[in-house]
Symmetry: C2
Subunit: 297 residues, 2 copies
């Protein structure tokens, strides 16, 4: 098997204590512990310390009216995050956020991703999609209840994660990368799209490649996956052999696309100015995918 | 690469016309065509014809006040489904439904899955999770709008698909299958669980195996995927090598679990009465996973 570095946002040391989430007494006990930690955030942005570490304060710092989620345990200590609604749009990844992510160590970014996805989901899911009533957090911040006691319908709601396929088409020793109009000049990446209801990963890869680039997949192989917290996707990275190199771009989605050979991808990954394109940042799985392809995956 | 039959609910001949979903004129033109088809349903149940085909009527059969989704084109003809709220709980798979699914041809079941996921999603998402106002269908039935013109917040909502990992632990030539208390005696299947926010597929597999069975994954390999329309999951099937065969079952989730060798899995897949267990039905990806493992995947 080809070796490549683990994708960004993976490798968190967090131990999720799923089996105690329904236990309010457990939550309260953990919160009262002297070693309980609270994630320091400004809106949705992390506090990045020297060495690329996340900033945590003592749980005693918590505002008296705050609602907390128990992320889980790290080195045995309970770690919490406030999940009160924030105004910020979790779907956006600002330049400042990209810079912060570039500084965070990989496993710290992974823990941050869990917290960020949870906060953002609570912010955008204050109401019940089934009956429209206000919902309240439950399960140590890992679900919301449309409470019958508050005239709700009783349904429970869980954080949403949208599966997304991201893929390289491959033909005769070259792979396809594309760019969107708003991106900086020379930036190219793998094509991507949401998995729709009623399709497999492989079907979504084939559909997206055909819709966006007009290429027909003949074989799809899975490479790797990562969570992506903008706002909450599961990125599923694949390589698809295609029938021909002829392109028919959907220019509303893809401004331009180019076929690149192994030397070109290697130059791009070195961020070589003379290379054929500038690659996505290391914490994006498209970068992992390019590295994996070069390594023979 | 090991060969095995494609998973259930895949292989639909449907061509999704994503790029025209925002075009109401296109929707109306397709609906007016003489070859336009409408899926026949009773609640959420399909009409299964001889030969395992789905029942479709002419689009002119549609109730005057019905709201339709354009599923896409099959052999060039537009295929629609009514998406008005139904009372049925899409999460349930009744015995009658299982029987109907057993009769439907694979590619017909795949088309049915698309329709069922859409209907069920509309039924359970009539209100905006962000502001609680009533939403209305948009994009030819592939989204809902919280309309500012109706005092909503303007947000758009897309059908939800929850990624789920389903996996076999593997140790020294045997794989692990487990059973839940309500299942018929002797029925065993792969372990499974929802992918949570902020974790990769591989991390979810490792976490679920440890939580449910107490086994530690050392390597996870992806095998196959399928959509699962009860109500709308993306099933991601993997095999995980584990450190040891010692089990520590979470008996709230798993009543019993057994290690089975290749001969035993082959006997189970033949539904041999003397085999070690009864396998899940062919349309479930756990069945595909068992077949793939026997084939050397």
């Amino acid at each position: 098997m080809a070796r490549f570095a683990p994708p960004g946002f993976t490798g968190s040391p967090l131990v999720r204590i799923d089996n105690e989430r329904d236990n309010q007494a457990y939550h309260d006990e953990q919160l009262a512990r002297a070693d309980a930690k609270l994630l320091r955030l400004t809106g949705l942005a992390p506090d990045v310390l020297d060495g690329g570490l996340l900033g945590w304060g003592p749980a005693s710092e918590v505002a008296p009216d705050a609602t907390l989620a128990l992320l889980g345990l790290i080195d045995g200590a309970p770690h919490f995050v406030p999940i009160d609604p924030v105004q910020e749009n979790g779907a956006q990844r600002s330049a400042a956020m990209s810079a912060a992510l570039g500084q965070l160590k990989g496993d710290e970014a992974a823990t941050y991703a869990v917290a960020r996805c949870l906060i953002d989901w609570h912010s955008r899911h204050q109401f019940c999609p089934r009956c429209g009533k206000h919902t309240r957090p439950m399960r140590s911040g890992w679900a919301r209840l449309c409470d019958k006691a508050a005239e709700g319908c009783g349904s429970e709601h869980f954080p949403r994660t949208d599966p997304v396929v991201i893929m390289l088409a491959e033909f005769e020793g070259k792979i396809l990368v594309g760019r969107q109009k708003p991106w900086p000049q020379r930036n190219y990446s793998a094509l991507a799209g949401f998995v729709e209801v009623g399709e497999s990963i492989e079907e979504a890869v084939a559909r997206e490649l055909f819709e966006e680039a007009g290429v027909k997949a003949t074989n799809v192989r899975y490479i790797a996956s990562q969570p992506w917290p903008f706002p909450s996707q599961l990125m599923i990275a694949c390589i698809a052999e295609v029938e021909s190199a002829d392109l028919n771009l959907d220019t509303r989605e893809i401004e331009a696309a180019i076929w690149v050979d192994k030397d070109g991808v290697e130059a791009a990954l070195r961020r070589d100015e003379s290379g054929p394109f500038m690659p996505p940042p290391p914490f994006a799985i498209a970068n992992t995918l390019l590295n994996a392809w070069v390594a023979g995956a």
